[in-house]
Symmetry: C2
Subunit: 426 residues, 2 copies
C-alpha cells in the first residue's frame, strides 16, 4: 500500500502558527508525545463526505474519529442537510425562537427515557455546567461527586487542580471517586452527608489513555439508590455516547433512570446544538437558573437535530453501529493476534477504545496507529473511536487490510522479545 505524505498540511500549519496559538488546537497538537503520532497525521481537511475525510494533500481517510462524535450518519447526510438548508431560507439566529425549538423539545421528550423537558445550548460543556447549577439550585448544596479520569468539557470546574489557568476555588467543590468502587462512593456520601448536590458520570467510563469500563450489573441500580437516599441529583453526561448506544439515551440502555442527561455530539450530525433533558422534579430549578447564549435559539441546528433524530430512529442507527462495530473490533483483534499482538478492546462496539497491551507506555500502540493513518484509516491513539452509519462493509474490509499491513510493519520493526522502543519524531 502507498503511504501518505502531508506537505500541504505542513505548509498550512506553518501559516497557522503565525495566527493561532499552537497552530491548531483541540486534541491535535504540534508536539510529538503521548497524544498522537504527529508525524503521520494530516492537520487540515479539504472536504468530508459520508465516512470519509480528504486532507488538503488530497489523501482520503476512513474517519473513525467522526469529528470526535458529531458525525453519526455520515458527513453531509442528505436528509439532515436538506432540513438545515430549508431552515436557512426561513431564518436561523433570530430574536425570538421558532417552533423548531418546541418541536425538538417534544421529540426529545418522546425519544429519551426520563426526559420530561429539554433545555438547549451549544457546547456539551454548557449542559454539564447547567446540570451542576440546576442540582445546586434544587438542593441548596454545593459539592459534586465526579469520577477520576472524567471528561465533562473544559469549564474550569471540570479541569484538574494545577492545570494552567485553573484556581483552587474552581475545583474546591469536587469530590473524586473511582469508577466501579461502590464502597468508596458510600464512604464519600457518608462523609459529606447533606452537602452533596450532584453526582455526575458518563453512562459508562470512557477516560482517555485507559481501557474503558462498562457498568457492572449492580453499579447503576446501587448508585441510583444511594443518590436517592442522600438526596443527590444523578446527572449523566451522555455527550459522547448519546444516541450511539440507544435512542432512549445511554442511561436507559443500562437500566438507569437519571435525573438529568446531557446530550450534544450525535444530536444533529454536526450542526451545532446541545441539550440538557431532565426529570419533572427539576423543572422549576431549571427555570430558575440564569442561563442563555447568543446562538442558543438558532433554528437551523434545531431543524437539523429533528431530521437527525428521526433518521437515527428510522434506520435503527444504534443497532447498525453495534453490529458494524462488532465486526470491525473482532477483525482488529484477530488481525493483531495473527501478528502476535494483544489488542485490548474495551467500551462499546459503537464507540470502542483499543490499545496494544504488550506495551504499557502505549507508544507501540501509537506506532501502529501511525501506520494505519499513513494508509488512510484515521484512528487516534489515546481516545475512544466512533462508528457512524455511513461506514460500509467495504470500508471495514479495507480498514482490516490496513490494520493487517500496519501490524506487519510494526512487527518487522519490533521482532518478538526485542525490547520495545519509543517511537521517534518523524
Amino acid at each position: 500500500m502507498q503511504t501518505y505524505e502531508h506537505p500541504q498540511s505542513r505548509a498550512l500549519f506553518e501559516r497557522a502558527l503565525k495566527v493561532v496559538p499552537s497552530g491548531i488546537y483541540g486534541h491535535l497538537g504540534p508536539s510529538e508525545g503521548c497524544y498522537i503520532p504527529v508525524s503521520a497525521y494530516p492537520f487540515y481537511a479539504a472536504r468530508a463526505h459520508g465516512a470519509y475525510v480528504w486532507d488538503v494533500d488530497g489523501n482520503r481517510y476512513i474517519d473513525y474519529m467522526c469529528a470526535y462524535g458529531p458525525n453519526i450518519l455520515g458527513y453531509g447526510d442528505p436528509d439532515v442537510d436538506a432540513a438545515a438548508r430549508a431552515q436557512i431560507a426561513t431564518g436561523n439566529c433570530t430574536t425570538l425562537p421558532t417552533a423548531t425549538m418546541v418541536e425538538l423539545a417534544e421529540l426529545l421528550v418522546d425519544t429519551v427515557d426520563g426526559a420530561d423537558w429539554a433545555f438547549f445550548a451549544k457546547n456539551g460543556g454548557d449542559t454539564t455546567s447547567l446540570a451542576m447549577m440546576i442540582a445546586r439550585a434544587a438542593t441548596g448544596r454545593d459539592k459534586a461527586i465526579l469520577f477520576r479520569g472524567h471528561y465533562h468539557g473544559v469549564a474550569p470546574w471540570t479541569q484538574q487542580y494545577g492545570s494552567p489557568g485553573i484556581t483552587d476555588h474552581d475545583v474546591a467543590n469536587n469530590l473524586y471517586c473511582t469508577w466501579g468502587d461502590l464502597d468508596a462512593l458510600r464512604r464519600t456520601m457518608e462523609a459529606h452527608r447533606g452537602q452533596i448536590a450532584v453526582l455526575m458520570a458518563t453512562p459508562y467510563h470512557h477516560p482517555v489513555f485507559a481501557d474503558n469500563e462498562l457498568p457492572e450489573p449492580s453499579w447503576w441500580s446501587t448508585v441510583r439508590e444511594l443518590c436517592t437516599e442522600h438526596g443527590i441529583v444523578l446527572a449523566v453526561d451522555d455527550v459522547r455516547a448519546g444516541f450511539r448506544l440507544d435512542m432512549r439515551g445511554s442511561s436507559a440502555h443500562y437500566g438507569l433512570r437519571a435525573d438529568l442527561q446531557c446530550f450534544c455530539k450525535a444530536l444533529a450530525n454536526g450542526w451545532n446544538v446541545s441539550a440538557l433533558v431532565g426529570d419533572d422534579a427539576l423543572r422549576a430549578a431549571a427555570g430558575s437558573v440564569m442561563y442563555t447564549g447568543s446562538y442558543w435559539l438558532s433554528s437551523v441546528p434545531f431543524a437539523a437535530a429533528i431530521a437527525c433524530l428521526e433518521k437515527l430512529t428510522r434506520i435503527d442507527a444504534p443497532g447498525r453501529m453495534r453490529q458494524t462495530g462488532r465486526i470491525l473490533t473482532d477483525g482488529l483483534r484477530a488481525a493483531a493476534a495473527e501478528h502476535g499482538f494483544d489488542l485490548r478492546i474495551s467500551g462499546e462496539p459503537a464507540m470502542w477504545f483499543m490499545r496494544i497491551a504488550d506495551d504499557d507506555t502505549m507508544m507501540l500502540h501509537q506506532e501502529w496507529i501511525a501506520e494505519c493513518v499513513r494508509r488512510g484509516v484515521f484512528f487516534t491513539s489515546h481516545h475512544n473511536l466512533f462508528m457512524n452509519t455511513a461506514i460500509t462493509e467495504e470500508d471495514i474490509a479495507y480498514t482490516l487490510d490496513v490494520a493487517h499491513e500496519s501490524f506487519a510493519v510494526v512487527r518487522a520493526r519490533h521482532p518478538e522479545r526485542q525490547e520495545i522502543q519509543t517511537v521517534g519524531k518523524g
Copy 2:
C-alpha cells in the same frame, strides 16, 4: 395604526410549557415584571429577512434587538449565506479543521488592532472564560477585577453571589469596582497588589436597566497604565459592541490597546462562532490552556465569518450604523419631547440604550415599549438596542411614526402631573 395580537404565539407557548422549563428562555420570560411588557410581546418567530422578523401570527416587526446582536447585515444576508451554503457542500464539523480556520484567524489579525492571534469557540462566554484562564496561566495569579453591572456571559464566575446554582467558590476571586471610578480602581489594585490576574470590562459600560456610559477621555489611558504597572492583563469583552463601532474593534475605537479581546455576536451575521484575539505576549499562555469543544472547528461558521467581516469592511458598516443610529435616536428623542416625555438616550448610536426618565421604575418606559411592539417596532425595555445595515430610511421613518403614536397613547393614559401607575397584566 392597527395593533397586533398573538394567539398563535400564546398557543405555541402553552405547548412549550410542557417540554421547556418556563416555556421559553433567555431574556424573554413568561412573567410580567421588570423585564419586558409580556402582554404586548410575540414569543415565537416564523421567519426573518433583512431588518424584519415575522411572528407566528404573521405580524411583521422591524427588529431592533437583532437577535441580541448577531444580526448586523440583515437576516439572511445573501453574501454571508452564500458563503455558508458553499461551505456546507464541502464540509462543516469535521475531525480536522479546514483552511477556513486559518483564513479567518488571518483576517481577524489583519482587521483588529492588537490581535496577534485568534482562538475560536462558540459562545461569547467561552471567550470571556478563556480570557480569565489565559490571564491566570500567564500571571500565576487568581483574582479578577470586574465592573458592577457587567454581563460577561452565564458561566458561574460571571453571575451574582446568591443567584440560583451559584456557589461562594464560583465568585470568590472576583473584585468588583464601579465603572468610571479611577480612585476605587487604584485602591483595589493596591489592596491586592500581586494577586490580580485580569481586569475585564466592556469597551463602554452597557449594563441592563441603567443608562450606558461611554469612557471618559482619561479612562482607558489610565486603566491601561494601571494594568501595565500592576502586571494585570487587560481583557476587553467586545462580544456585544464588536464591529458595530469600529472594524478595528471597539478598544481601538476608544484608543485602547487591550491585551485580550472577546468577539462573538456580529462576527458571522448569526452563524455560530466566537473568537478571542490577543497580544503576542499571551500567545504561549493561550496555547497552554486546555480548551476545546465539539463544534469549535466547524467550517461553515468560519466561512460565514470571513464573508461577514469582508462585507462589513467593504460597506463601512460601523459608519453606516452610526449615521442611521443617530437619525433614529435623534428622532426618538424629539418625538418624546413633543409629547412631554424626557427620553434619555445613552451609549453609542449603533447600540443605544433608552429610557423615559420621568419615571425611575422604568414601568412608564415599559408601557411605551409595549405600544411600539404592538405596532410592529420590536424594542425591549431594559437592554440596549442594536442597529443593522439592512434598516432603511423608510424603516426609520416608520419607526418614528410608531414612536409618536405610542407616546401619544401613553400620554393619553398618563396626563402630565398624574401619578404614574405600573402597567398591569394584559
